[in-house]
């Protein structure tokens, strides 16, 4: 949109508007109410509902304002008898076949059609013909469908196509018989539920929340998703201390993700009120004995005594403090403070899948937010699989390509689905991502890298040309496949590619909601990593204080390491492999019961708000840490308020300087933390190390040729997603049930045999 201004007259008043602005947006901004169904700012135009009619002078008929671009001197009328009559007629048509069953419709109370019928509907129905009744049905374990309520605005089909690239839901049939349907009658997509979210009627509904509550009964709290590093803003609806649903409807929340959420964020919240949540603190008085419920006082005393004893016997460094990248910044900060200031140990870490510390230590440019990705001109994706692991980043990439015309270069050893959108796909040999980084960093290594990666040298030249020909933003994204040294090279790439009119931005793809926060809080800069720490158990590490749990990939091959410890304190939501050896277990509060902040992969620090009081006897992680330290004789001075902890973070951690909760209040304008950038530095050591490693790679590796199925990561059963029964159906291949009239949950038994094996990184 240009900055040139033109003159438009609306209802007799003159306005200066930007050239190329859409009429419906302009009218609404100026306060003229224009009803609409099919118009959705982030999607292609549809113009099927005919609600947005206006009269434009010199045009023969009423016009749909959602398709009109303002021109100079345009004279528009938005309110007149003629327009109102047309709009009322439209609502009457829309309701002609509608079942009018609001009392049992889950959308009732937040339905756009209902609201429209209040304002533009006629009191009486003139159609007396029989309605075209159709039974309600299920389209997948999580999408329920009542075809008769549909007004054919096609928001769902456009979202499915444009946002998700799935094209799983489409309109079929013609005229009055048009229905929204799926291929083969069953949805085999990534089950994001975005079609449910954007549907203005009760046609597509959340099957996990089916007939559970009504929207006005729910307390809606804006918070941040706890699953991946995208940090989507969502609104959690709770009732009487129970989380009922999660939505991103723009009437409740307006974060950087808009109305987008993925299956995990939207549906996998049942773990919060799950019956198997830990209820009380527990103590194992004898090694190998049973965990016995205890009071908080007893458990805290027992824990501190145990830690004290280990410190006395083996010194401070024998105590390890381990956080989890799922915790809030506040909790991670408290842990770090506990480790360094109270215990005085060098052994602390967070149980992340990989560490981003080399990246942040060498950062030479800006981190790309998700908005930057959406408007980038070139995106280079090295390793990773955002569609499965960071679904919102995946959506931004797809839209950047599809709606923004961006060039997408994918370097991956697996032909991931996203390659369908790529301008260039470098199908490399397994585990040769480092070679790609090396070649991008220094083209002198092109020949070597190409040989090891199993690609043509010309492909690397083309990749470089794509970057250097870009006007606008280049976003370089990378997954956990690249090594620590390669992370350093990537972090310095802005110095190579920044130029007048071009910015090189970086975007790491960590796996957890607060992986970046864990690095920022300093927890990732300890002496040992998670696996090394397990290896050192019983050797140099004798006691451990773990908030959260070790990931399965840490524990494989080290199943008994934790048993070698003298003393283990764990705070968790559920019993896990880590609590199996614990001497003391504290019940911790989940993200829905905690106040705090998460920092996402784009560096946005966003609020986590308490939606329900802590379940059972659980407490927030930082509260437990503060309680332990108080028992050990040091008062952290947090005064039982998360904002006091954040205040200290802002004081001590430069990237967060000056931040306070009030500044983070508005999720619409998220704040990016100011990660320190360092000067361009000599990376010959690192690149030499990579080169040596690349030299040793095989020349004749076999490529992976199969594109993994949708959901191979997304539907994986982890500790949290395990609590959503529908997830088990999806994980076992999403079988189509015998009848669609009833939820598949009632038809297909979810038993242990059906579960896909639980592997790390849910």
């Amino acid at each position: 949109m240009s900055t040139e201004l033109i003159k438009v007259t609306i209802n007799g008043k003159e306005f200066q508007v930007a050239k190329g602005a859409r009429l419906i947006d302009v009218c609404r901004e100026q306060g003229f109410n224009i009803p609409s169904f099919c118009y959705y700012a982030d999607l292609a135009l549809q113009a099927s509902c005919r609600m947005c009619l206006v009269r434009i002078e010199k045009m023969p008929k009423l016009q749909t304002s959602c398709t009109i671009t303002c021109t100079d001197g345009m004279v528009v009328t938005t309110e007149s008898e003629e327009i109102e009559k047309a709009q009322r007629a439209m609502v009457e048509f829309l309701l002609a076949n509608h079942p009018l069953d609001c009392p049992i419709c889950d959308r009732g109370g937040e339905c756009e059609l209902q609201e429209m019928a209040f304002d533009w509907g006629n009191l009486e129905e003139r159609f007396t013909e029989r309605k075209n009744a159709q039974p309600e049905k299920y389209l997948s374990p999580i999408v329920a469908n009542d075809p008769q309520r549909c007004i054919l605005c096609k928001r769902c089909t456009r979202v499915c196509d444009e946002w998700m690239g799935e094209d799983a839901i489409e309109a079929g049939g013609r005229g009055a018989n048009t229905v929204i349907g799926t291929f083969g009658g069953w949805l085999n997509c990534s089950e994001c539920g975005n079609c449910i979210e954007v549907c203005p009627t009760g046609t597509l509904l959340d099957a996990t929340y089916r007939h559970q509550a009504r929207p006005w009964e729910l307390q809606q709290t804006v918070t941040t998703c706890t699953y991946c590093s995208d940090g989507c803003q969502e609104s959690v609806g709770s009732r009487a201390g129970e989380v009922m649903r999660v939505v991103a409807r723009d009437r409740y929340v307006n974060g950087h993700n808009g109305e987008f959420l993925c299956i995990k964020g939207r549906f996998a919240h049942t773990f919060i009120n799950d019956e198997t949540r830990l209820r009380t603190p527990m103590i194992r008085y004898k090694k190998g004995g049973k965990l016995i419920p205890a009071t908080w006082d007893e458990a805290v005393k027992f824990a501190t005594r145990g830690l004290d004893k280990a410190a006395e016997a083996h010194g401070a460094n024998s105590i390890a403090v381990v956080g989890s990248p799922r915790l809030t910044n506040e909790s991670l900060y408290a842990l770090k403070k506990f480790a360094t200031e109270l215990v005085g140990t060098e052994n602390y870490t967070a149980t992340d899948a990989f560490s981003l510390s080399p990246f942040f230590q060498n950062l030479g440019g800006q981190i790309a937010t998700h908005r930057d990705i959406r408007h980038a001109k070139t995106i280079v994706l090295i390793g990773g699989e955002p569609e499965e692991l960071q679904p919102f980043a995946g959506k931004q990439i797809r839209q950047a390509v599809r709606n923004g015309g961006a060039k997408l270069v994918i370097i991956n050893s697996t032909p991931i689905r996203l390659k369908e959108r790529a301008t260039q796909f470098l199908h490399i040999n397994p585990e040769t991502e480092d070679a790609a980084v090396l070649a991008i960093f220094n083209q002198a290594h092109n020949e070597l890298a190409a040989r090891k990666m199993g690609v043509q040298e010309t492909e690397l030249i083309e990749l470089r040309r794509t970057i250097t020909n870009t006007e606008g933003d280049v976003v370089i994204m990378f997954g956990g496949e690249v090594s620590a040294e390669a992370q350093s090279l990537l972090a310095q790439m802005p110095y190579l590619f920044n130029k007048e009119g071009r910015r090189a931005l970086l975007h790491p793809l960590p796996l957890y909601n607060n992986s970046v926060g864990a690095t920022d809080m300093g927890l990732m800069y300890g002496k040992l990593g998670a696996t090394e720490m397990l290896d050192a158990a019983g050797d140099s590490v004798h006691a451990m204080y773990v908030a959260g749990s070790f990931l399965p990939q840490h524990l494989t091959g080290r199943e008994d390491s934790l048993g070698k410890l003298d003393f283990l304190v764990v705070q968790e939501l559920f019993e896990t492999e880590t609590t199996r050896f614990a001497d003391v277990v504290f019940p911790a509060a989940s993200f829905a019961e905690a106040d705090g902040t998460f920092t996402n992969s784009g560096g946005l620090v966003q609020r986590v708000r308490q939606t329900i009081p802590p379940v059972n006897q659980s407490k927030q992680d930082w509260v437990i840490t503060a309680q332990l330290s108080k028992e050990l004789g040091v008062d952290f001075g947090f005064q039982m308020s998360a904002s006091a902890v954040f205040g200290e973070i802002a004081e001590r951690i430069p990237a967060y300087a000056g931040l306070r909760y009030p500044l983070l209040k508005d999720e619409t304008n998220p704040v990016q933390v100011k990660h320190a950038t360092i000067e361009q530095r000599d990376l010959s050591q690192e690149s030499e190390a990579i080169r040596a490693r690349v030299e040793k790679m095989s020349d004749t590796a076999t490529k992976i040729n199969a594109t993994p199925p949708v959901g191979h990561e997304l539907f994986k059963i982890g500790t949290l997603t395990d609590k959503l029964p529908q997830m088990h159906l999806l994980a076992s291949g999403n079988p189509k049930p015998p009848t669609l009239a009833v939820s598949p949950l009632y038809q297909i038994t979810v038993d242990a045999g059906m579960k896909r094996e639980a592997i790390g990184g849910d």
């Binding site: 009392p103 007939h211 559970q212």
Partner: protein, 173 residues
């Protein structure tokens, strides 16, 4: 003032009072002989609520929460549930029914808004009015107390026909 004066004054007052009492004895009686005789209530009397069932015995309530939303004293508590069975096996008339439906008679003001709000004619005011209990917690009535198939109707009321002038019972004869 002397004691004698006092005695005279109070005797006068008693005679005056008893005069009123005796003057009413020959007049008609207003007393309703409850509980020996049933009370006659207006057809639109608002007593304890009834939750209705249809001709097949299925609950009419679809747990839409509109009554709870309309209730000014917030005394209606509902938990909705999905019932995936076929129409004739269901508990209610629709796939959605109220698993829990509580009315707290410690708070209910018998305004009748819930009845007015109900789109399914599932809730009405019945005539039971003997709601006193020994324990405050017992004022909370559940579906077992409210369903028309379960609520025991008191014998102590009689519903007037709509033409009947109920108030005549309380008038002087």
């Amino acid at each position: 003032m002397s004691i004698i004066g006092d005695v005279i004054e109070s005797t006068k007052a008693i005679i005056k009072g008893m005069g009123v009492t005796f003057s009413y004895i020959p007049k008609g009686k207003w007393t309703v002989e409850y509980p020996d005789e049933p009370v006659t209530v207006q057809p639109r009397y608002r007593g304890q609520h009834l939750l209705h069932v249809d001709e097949y015995g299925r609950e009419k309530c679809v747990a839409c929460f509109l009554c709870a939303a309309a209730c000014p004293s917030e005394c209606i508590y509902i938990i909705a549930k999905d019932d995936p069975r076929s129409p004739m096996e269901r508990i209610g008339i629709e796939e959605r029914y109220a698993e829990v439906y509580n009315i707290d008679y410690g708070r209910c003001i018998f305004c009748g808004y819930c009845v007015e709000a109900c789109p399914k004619d599932a809730i009405t005011h019945g005539y039971n009015f003997e709601l006193s209990v020994y324990n405050r917690a017992d004022l909370l009535k559940t579906k077992d107390d409210l369903l028309i198939t379960k609520q025991v109707q008191s014998r102590n009321y009689r519903v007037a026909s709509s033409e009947e002038d109920v108030d005549s019972e309380y008038k002087e004869v």
